[in-house]
């Protein structure tokens, strides 16, 4: 690589052939990005289980918190809203109503806050290894999904045990597509927020407020149809909220055994796949920027 002299005695610039060499760290096409992501599926699962066990291992009760945490929050919400504020007026089987709302909302809420900080918490993995960065927000959702499964079991037991008996119909099976739709929605949300949160670190502060507002706006412990009956525009806006759709779909099929309106299903599907595409593409476009902090 030292200065080479040609026969005329002039120094010439050394030439190297770039045959077989590829720019490093570049965003690949969507097709190969998805292929690379599929190749790392084991990594995504391992990463999400690692996050799960590292958070539970610090506690004395360990995995017990997966059941205890939602249980206690249901108790707290029931005490405030069902007992003191009496927001249960007009809602039959209020405990079941509340349990479904709290558990299903927690799944999305945790995916939202986790997704916002996904790039920051995965900084050491990003610096150390080259993998499609979308693995990080996806592993956040997978981790929360793994958390969610035991709480669904708790939920089923609670609903079955606590007095007002449910109407058990074939519609119970409809819970599964609702959970799938919500998980897809969460993946899109986590991907979208991961890039935004990386660009604007202040968002983590903001997210807890947004999450709370969303919780109240989704009708977790009161029925927005009853409360906002005389504000049709606000009601329409609230009903546009995907979480409201997912919660109502679950309650209708699990608790009340009635058919849900079609527009709700359409809205749930549109939100899930729409946000998945938008969020994933948005995240993928920023692929090269996540290494810089």
């Amino acid at each position: 690589m030292s200065e080479t002299k040609n026969p005329l005695g002039l120094s010439s610039i050394p030439s190297v052939s770039s045959e077989g060499l590829v720019p490093v760290g570049r965003r690949t096409s969507l097709r190969s990005y998805l292929a690379a992501l599929w190749n790392r599926r084991h990594f995504i699962i391992a990463e999400s289980r690692a996050k799960m066990s590292s958070s539970t291992r610090k506690n004395l009760l360990g995995y017990g918190w997966l059941f205890l945490n939602p249980l206690l929050s249901v108790l707290a919400f029931w005490f405030i809203f069902g007992f003191i504020l009496q927001s249960s007026r007009g809602i039959e089987n209020f405990i079941g109503y509340l349990v479904i709302g709290v558990f299903f909302f927690q799944f999305t809420g945790k995916s939202m806050t986790g997704g916002t900080g996904a790039i920051r918490s995965g900084a050491s993995m990003i610096k150390g290894f080259q993998f499609p960065r979308a693995a990080l927000p996806i592993s956040v959702v997978v981790r929360n999904f793994l958390d969610f499964i035991p709480s669904v079991v708790v939920m089923a037991i609670l609903i079955a045990v606590i007095p007002p008996a449910e109407v058990i119909t074939w519609r119970v099976a409809l819970v599964i597509p609702v959970i799938i739709l919500q998980t897809i929605f969460n993946v899109g949300l986590a991907c979208f927020l991961a890039r935004v949160g990386h660009k604007i670190p202040d968002l983590t502060n903001f997210m807890s407020i947004v999450s709370r507002f969303w919780l109240y706006g989704s009708g977790v412990f009161f029925s927005i149809e009853d409360r906002l009956g005389n504000h049709p525009t606000i009601l329409a806006v609230m009903q546009f909220n995907p979480m409201h759709s997912y919660l109502t779909l679950t309650r209708n099929s699990l608790l009340y055994g009635v058919d849900s309106p079609t527009w709700m299903w359409v809205m749930g599907i549109a939100w899930a796949f729409g946000l998945l595409i938008v969020g994933f593409l948005f995240f993928w476009r920023g692929e090269e920027s996540y290494g810089r902090s």
Partner: protein, 436 residues
């Protein structure tokens, strides 16, 4: 080793420039006016732009181990991060043959998890399949030599232990390009020995190692070539002995506070420094000399059979008889002239080579980077399974074994050579001691 110029390049960096905009506490750098108020609200003081790399040209070839020396803040780590693809340079580009693996100072991956869980997670992150990760596990544990500590949480490791495990994990995927940023300097003597052996093997298999280390002696011993970086530029590039020696002399003078000598040395090096330039030959241009923008398909308004398109259509221009022109009263352009002027017609050009039917399809995208060439070996096999030759080929892959044994031989040679040098040094040191 063969002439380094003849070896294939593994890393090419061309005019790499990186700048960071960072917050500063410098009172001389206060913003003025409105921005100052905004900074006061947000608790910031001001921002400056740091040029971390100012146009680095660099080539590393197969079987090379390049040491990078330089003072703190000279851009060594930034350069390695860019080569690894963690960050993208603001200007210039970096080309690599394989995906480089960066070993940084921050060792712990998931501090709450045990070492063995980190091994598995790291292996999967590098793209190994679960089976490969299980196979690699024993090798990793052996190379890291952590013993029972492998089952403890990684957060409880000392920095040296963490570095050992990180290094062992990185080598589990057998990468071809390894970038080591101070990661080995915390290891003890036995680990230094093991890691050197491991790197010898990597180099013998036509890999490349870039090593950042502050101990110039380590660079001298291990590297084939060294680069001295200073303030984001490469000052010197040459044999490891010479570069490391110069750097050591400069650093020693700086450390002793002999600024004038250090400045003079630096001045000397700077004046001798040649801004290295490289000329990258693009394989695409050789294959497809027509630039892509010219080969872009032109929107066709009318579609016809190919033999029909070759026909030139000549529009008949109506000729005006001369007497009529003469009769015209004035030669000015008539105001209400809206006859369509004949448009120029160009013959359709032959298709560019890139669009020819027989030409190989040009992929816009290169194949994805891997840590090492894929495992798919070419095994020659006879059509008849009873054939003796084929059974031999199937039972054992001789070519692979021969290549591996050759690589091991090269690694052993490097190791022995280094040992000889070390022994010579220690014996001469002992000799000096006995003289005193």
């Amino acid at each position: 080793m063969a002439d380094p110029e003849l070896q294939e390049p593994n890393i090419i960096a061309e005019n790499v420039q990186v700048r960071y905009t960072v917050n500063t506490n410098d009172p001389g750098n206060r913003a003025k006016g409105l921005r100052r108020i905004a900074n006061a609200v947000s608790g910031r003081h001001g921002q400056t732009t740091v040029r971390a790399l100012r146009g680095v040209n660099f080539v590393a070839r197969e079987g090379e181990m390049v040491g990078i020396v330089g003072a703190n803040g000279s851009g060594k780590s930034t350069f390695l991060r860019n080569v690894a693809g963690v960050e993208q340079p603001d200007r210039g580009r970096i080309l690599v043959r394989f995906q480089p693996l960066l070993l940084g100072v921050s060792a712990a991956l998931q501090p709450a998890l045990s070492g063995s869980e980190n091994v598995r997670l790291g292996c999967l992150a590098m793209g190994l399949s679960p089976e490969e990760a299980t196979d690699a596990f024993d090798r990793v544990v052996e190379l890291s030599a952590l013993g029972a500590a492998i089952h403890r949480p990684m957060g409880t490791y000392s920095s040296g232990m963490g570095a050992r495990l990180r290094f062992a994990i990185a080598l589990a995927a057998r990468p071809k390009i390894l970038l080591i940023d101070e990661a080995l300097s915390t290891g003890d003597a036995t680990f230094a020995e093991r890691s050197e052996r491991a790197m010898d093997e990597l180099l013998a298999e036509a890999g490349t190692v870039l090593l950042v280390n502050h101990a110039a002696k380590v660079i001298q011993e291990l590297c084939t070539r060294a680069v001295w970086m200073h303030k984001g530029e490469i000052l010197m590039n040459g044999p490891a002995e010479a570069v490391a020696e110069k750097y050591r002399w400069w650093a020693w003078n700086v450390a002793k506070g002999k600024e004038d000598i250090a400045d003079k040395l630096l001045q000397d090096v700077v004046s001798n420094a040649v801004k290295e330039e490289i000329n990258i030959l693009e394989p695409e241009l050789i294959r497809n000399p027509i630039p892509r923008h010219a080969a872009r398909p032109v929107k066709e308004t009318r579609k016809g059979a190919r033999h029909m398109r070759q026909q030139r259509e000549i529009e008949e221009v109506e000729e005006t008889p001369a007497p009529m022109l003469a009769a015209a009263e004035s030669q000015v352009w008539p105001k209400d002239f809206d006859a369509e002027l004949p448009k120029a017609k160009f013959p359709s050009l032959p298709k560019p080579a890139s669009q020819a039917v027989s030409a190989p399809r040009i992929h816009d995208e290169p194949p994805p980077l891997r840590l090492r060439p894929s495992r798919n070996r070419v095994v020659l096999r006879a059509a008849n399974p009873d054939d003796r030759a084929s059974s031999v080929a199937a039972s054992d892959d001789f070519t692979g074994r021969r290549l591996a044994s050759r690589a091991r031989k090269i690694a052993d040679e490097r190791y022995e050579k280094r040992e000889r040098i070390r022994q010579a040094e220690s014996s001469s040191a002992a000799h000096e001691d006995s003289w005193r």
